[in-house]
Symmetry: C2
Subunit: 223 residues, 2 copies
């Protein structure tokens, strides 16, 4: 029978199980990216992410450096925003922002006949062009970001992990190619899988490394 | 190359692709549960949920009936709370509540040396014992709910979909057995998989059926 266990013990045991299963599968994760991959598996219980997650060179180190310097995180859903560790972020001086429900964004999207995600990315560039952009839902946000990067925008990192069946695979591949061409760090979940939970998990893996916070209850909820 | 497509078209196309792939796999979903299974696949791009999701008899119909009557939804994370469709819920008269960061819950968990999830479930029973309980994260919340149901609590529905490697499989099986014994409707993701995104997706499938809202932008964001 299951018993009540402290969150910190659950997390430690979970990570040990994940590491053991990866070893049993003969997978050796590069040290640079292991934290991120393990945390996404922890969030999804899905080992497909060992293969799906692709990192541009030094993407993790550059993301951690930016977050350590206090840059903001921009998400494309309030769900991803809710999942990002606020204590870790505030410890570092950054904020997490989502512009999808901003009245200006809503009105402009309606007027232009485009998606809120497209307008939200343009809006975000005006407020925090050097933020970490974490996109877990809208392929149109990635297509728009690709255009903005081609035009000169330089985010600190793009986390490109929308989930879905239409436009998703293509938008992630395009974003990855554009980021490589313009030396913008990117972490991309190739294929159909991803989501707001994955976007938040990647952010948190970087935030935990940058902040040094280790206790799950302390990281997830302000006391 | 990917182009910008309206969210409503993306969703319709996605659901068509999911239905076609299910057919190609020889899967026939029961009409009662098909909406829920398809929406979880839409949220995760993971067809494992065809097998993982288990429903007690009439769980969907009873959940839809309760939400139509305006019962609240209680979640165990702010992330799941953020993912539940507020327009659909407010159309029906219900609210979504998460007590995990409630100062009373935090203080009591600390005083008792137990998890916030345990105290949050007890606290929720005092406020809305007949709510739909959507648990996407904490196995301890499910173990606690199981005890409360044994003691007489009668939620309208329990959505039991935590993700993870420790205590998760066992807590979901126990909850399912307790719900069956006490005639409490339950929707359970057996095995390790699940998450706050899955919890929200199940809620939304029920809310969309109860409310009749069909346009994704209208359902996700208040105009």
């Amino acid at each position: 029978m299951a018993v009540i266990i402290k969150p910190s013990d659950i997390e430690q045991n979970s990570m040990s199980i994940i590491s053991a299963e990866l070893e049993a599968r003969g997978e050796t994760l590069p040290e640079e990216t292991a934290d991120v991959v393990r945390r996404v598996i922890h969030t999804t219980a899905d080992f497909d992410y060992v293969d799906n997650l692709v990192f541009t060179e030094n993407a993790v180190a550059r993301g951690v450096e930016a977050l350590s310097a206090g840059v903001d995180i921009v998400t494309d859903t309030n769900m991803a925003k809710a999942g990002v560790s606020k204590p870790a972020l505030s410890h570092l001086g950054g904020r997490v922002q989502c512009f999808m429900a901003d009245p200006i964004v809503v009105a402009m999207a309606k007027a232009e006949g485009t998606t809120r995600a497209v307008v939200a990315m343009r809006h975000a560039e005006q407020h925090c062009p050097d933020a970490v952009y974490a996109v877990g839902n809208a392929p149109t946000a990635l297509l728009q970001l690709s255009e903005q990067i081609k035009a000169g925008m330089r985010p600190s990192l793009v986390i490109a992990v929308p989930v879905g069946f239409v436009n998703v695979v293509e938008s992630k591949e395009e974003l990855l190619a554009v980021c490589r061409e313009h030396d913008v760090p990117a972490i991309v979940a190739l294929g159909r899988k991803g989501g707001s939970n994955v976007a938040a998990a990647v952010c948190n893996a970087l935030l935990y490394r940058a902040s040094g916070l280790t206790d799950p209850e302390e990281r997830n909820w302000k006391a």
